[in-house]
């Protein structure tokens, strides 16, 4: 397997720190750029993300044209805080309200395509503790400066925030190393060059994102990569080292549920491509066990793995963006 892609399409955020150049390129190409922050109870981090990104990439350098928060029904102060710091905040359930309602990050990202106006859409998780504007401009840079690149993924050095306000300097990416990379190695060795396929930060051209389906839950990151790879090839994808991202540590059970959703998405994709045949349909429940008073008790959680169709197939979207199919 060639590692050309890794050498050619891997960048460091500092390659794009000349923000004036990015703004100039954006204006020259007549592009608009939207930032989407999907939220669910992110009151501790949302204000900081909005303020820093707005200050640096809207007020000082007009790189972003809008900051949009798509909320999944937060019960804390996320919505009010986001509004008070100037973001456009939307309740995911009220976007395309006639459609059946689902909860999940992928659902919010998909609906952001309908709400936002940009030619480029940047998705950034709303729980980043050490947010810096490099998280956005690092992703935007390759899209503006390299005509062949249509989709950019982030990767990081990932310290995990542990108890007592201390940082453990290494770790993270367990699902990537234990689930995704083995799967990619088995089926698409080329894709193993993507260092962190599950990173929650990515950006892409609308013309690409509107043409692929979006799983509503955890599987969205894997699915986007597989679909773009299948439709346009690996060369339209790039990855950018964003240095360091501090995130919440998740327990093993939560990672198990995440892995279940990702595996399901992956296997369904393989079935659609005719690469595997499972004979029977997959089950919808992950079953995990808890030790309660010396006895193991099962705990089943239904993860349906529903997918939204490509946004370009939604009539309201085509009408809004004057697209004739």
């Amino acid at each position: 397997m060639s590692h050309n892609w890794l050498d050619k399409n891997t960048f460091h955020y500092s390659d794009f720190k000349d923000l004036s150049q990015l703004v100039e390129e954006k204006q020259k190409k007549g592009l608009r750029i939207s930032l989407c922050l999907p939220t669910l109870n992110e009151e501790k981090t949302i204000a900081k993300e909005i303020i820093i990104l707005k200050s640096e990439l809207m007020t000082r350098y007009p790189l972003l044209d809008e900051i949009v928060v798509i909320d999944s029904g937060s019960t804390d102060h996320t919505v009010n805080i986001a509004k008070s710091f100037g973001a456009d905040v939307y309740d995911a359930d009220k976007i395309l309200p006639h459609l059946e309602k689902y909860k999940g990050k992928g659902e919010n990202l998909w609906k952001a395509l309908y709400i936002t106006k940009g030619d480029i859409i940047v998705y950034i998780d709303a729980d980043i503790k050490n947010i810096h504007h490099r998280f956005a401009y690092g992703l935007i840079g390759p899209l503006l400066l390299y005509d062949n690149i249509k989709y950019v993924k982030a990767f990081y050095d990932r310290p995990i925030s542990i108890g007592k306000n201390k940082i453990r300097p290494t770790g993270g990416g367990r699902v990537t190393e234990l689930v995704i990379r083995p799967l990619f190695s088995l089926f698409f060795p080329e894709l193993t060059q993507i260092i962190q396929p599950l990173s929650g930060e990515y950006a892409g051209y609308r013309e690409v994102l509107e043409k692929i389906p979006f799983p509503i839950g955890y599987g969205v990151e894997t699915s986007i990569i597989l679909d773009i790879y299948e439709k346009w090839g690996l060369d339209v994808i790039a990855q950018v080292d964003l240095d360091r991202r501090i995130h919440r540590n998740q327990d093993t059970k939560a990672l198990g549920r995440m892995s279940f959703a990702i595996l399901k998405t992956f296997i369904n994709r393989q079935k659609q491509l005719g690469l595997i045949d499972t004979k029977n349909n997959l089950y919808d429940e992950i079953i995990q066990y808890n030790l309660v008073e010396s006895r193991y008790q099962p705990e089943a959680l239904k993860i349906v793995g529903f997918e939204r169709p490509p946004m370009i197939e939604i009539p309201e979207y085509c009408e809004k963006f004057c697209i004739k199919n």
Partner: protein, 423 residues
């Protein structure tokens, strides 16, 4: 373990509190200042607050980006780099470091004849690098380690160039924006000492910025010595003692000695035992213990005299118990002050009053004293209100900060209009 004790010998039945150290400047100062330019500027102060609020995103971003870069004393390099990078991005005329690596931004003034005005904020904080320095912003607060002392001050200092630019403010003097290193604790104000010692020109005046509290108007500083008494007992020698001494109990004897010190009412003075640590675990005799103290007085001669008394106590206990007991000075400052009717103090009080802020003054042991001891008129101002000052949950209020920044600009304008120029 931290113990705070106040040792006093005051005959007054009143507790040792702000009665002795607080003067409400507003009640003793004629706050109206002369000069039509400054009067007009004061009239516009409330509008200035609104103008500053309009660029709050950039100001808060600076506070967060600086504050999230750890800068324990002696390890401020990374924060210094962030400071200079941001200054350069804001188009400051010169961004550099002095010979001691204090990061400095220089905004050139319109007159080459006027000496420069300094605005300083100390770069270092109490928190080590391995503490998570991630700040949380809510609707009207920002929380995180070191924010009040003094990441807020540095963030505001960093924001001044862009505030000046957005508000169209220019000055006759060069404005020197210095984030000084090695200030707190054992740093002993080394950064600002070096900066002032090596600065090649006269200095017109200075403003020292601290995060809290809005309303503070410091224009004098007490003489001060901070010291450390450490007791160390060799484990090897334990067999030679009939009863092995306990380092903590030895320090307890020192404390008892300090409690018996006679301190005069005038010049006013006090000794604070602010820090104590020692021992290994609950069931083992402590072989090491350390006690931190501070002597403060408006007479430096008195400070030195008390220090010598403490040294005698330490030497005596050391001899009697045959243990290693040492006293050393961590930092010291000479007493210095502006008169309460100095034009800078009066102008600063007028600025604060124009914003509806009641000025409160007390002694401060900080960079201010170094400016004053060099006969450079200077004041220290606080930016906003806060709580949990020295904890990881230190929290600042956002809204009062805009007045806090406006007062800095008002006082800067006053210095630039000449209130410090008379000998």
């Amino acid at each position: 373990m931290h113990i705070l004790l106040y040792i006093k010998r005051f005959s007054s039945p009143l507790p040792l509190n702000n009665r002795f150290f607080l003067q409400q400047v507003a009640t003793v100062l004629p706050i109206r200042i002369q000069g039509s330019v400054m009067e007009k500027f004061l009239e516009n102060m409330p509008a200035l607050v609104d103008d500053i609020r309009a660029i709050k995103d950039i100001i808060i971003t600076n506070i967060v980006l600086i504050g999230q870069t750890p800068a324990p004393t002696f390890k401020e390099k990374r924060r210094g780099i962030v400071f200079m990078e941001r200054m350069a991005e804001f188009g400051v005329d010169e961004v550099t470091t002095d010979g001691y690596r204090n990061p400095i931004g220089i905004i050139r003034g319109t007159s080459s004849k006027k000496p420069p005005i300094f605005i300083v904020a100390h770069l270092d904080t109490f928190f080590e690098k391995d503490i998570v320095h991630n700040y949380t912003i809510k609707e009207n607060t920002i929380t995180g380690p070191g924010i009040l002392d003094n990441s807020l001050g540095v963030g505001v200092l960093l924001s001044l160039p862009i505030i000046f630019e957005k508000l169209g403010l220019t000055f006759e003097s060069d404005i020197i924006l210095a984030g000084v290193i090695q200030s707190i604790g054992k740093g002993n104000l080394r950064g600002v000492r070096h900066l002032l010692k090596t600065w090649p020109t006269p200095i017109r005046g200075s403003i020292c910025i601290e995060g809290v509290e809005l309303g503070r108007l410091n224009y004098f500083s007490d003489g001060m010595i901070r010291g450390e008494i450490s007791c160390s007992i060799s484990e090897d020698k334990g067999v030679l003692y009939k009863y092995t001494p306990n380092a903590i109990l030895i320090l307890n004897e020192v404390i008892n000695g300090l409690m018996r010190l006679s301190l005069p009412q005038r010049p006013r003075c006090r000794v604070v035992i602010g820090k104590i640590s020692g021992g290994a675990n609950h069931g083992k005799i402590a072989y090491d213990a350390t006690l931190g103290f501070e002597i403060r007085s408006d007479s430096y001669k008195m400070v030195k005299s008390i220090y010598n008394d403490i040294k005698d106590i330490v030497d005596g206990i050391s001899n009697e118990n045959e243990v290693g007991l040492n006293i050393k000075t961590i930092s010291n400052l000479k007493a210095a002050r502006l008169k309460f009717n100095h034009p800078l103090v009066k102008s600063a009080a007028a600025v604060l009053n124009s914003l509806g802020i009641k000025p409160i003054s007390k002694s401060t042991e900080s960079a201010l004293s170094l400016f004053l001891s060099r006969k450079i008129p200077a004041v220290t101002l606080g930016i906003t209100h806060g709580e949990n000052y020295y904890t990881q949950k230190a929290t600042m209020e956002i809204e009062p900060m805009f007045k806090g920044i406006a007062q800095i600009i008002g006082v800067l304008k006053a210095i630039d209009s000449g209130v410090c120029d008379e000998p």
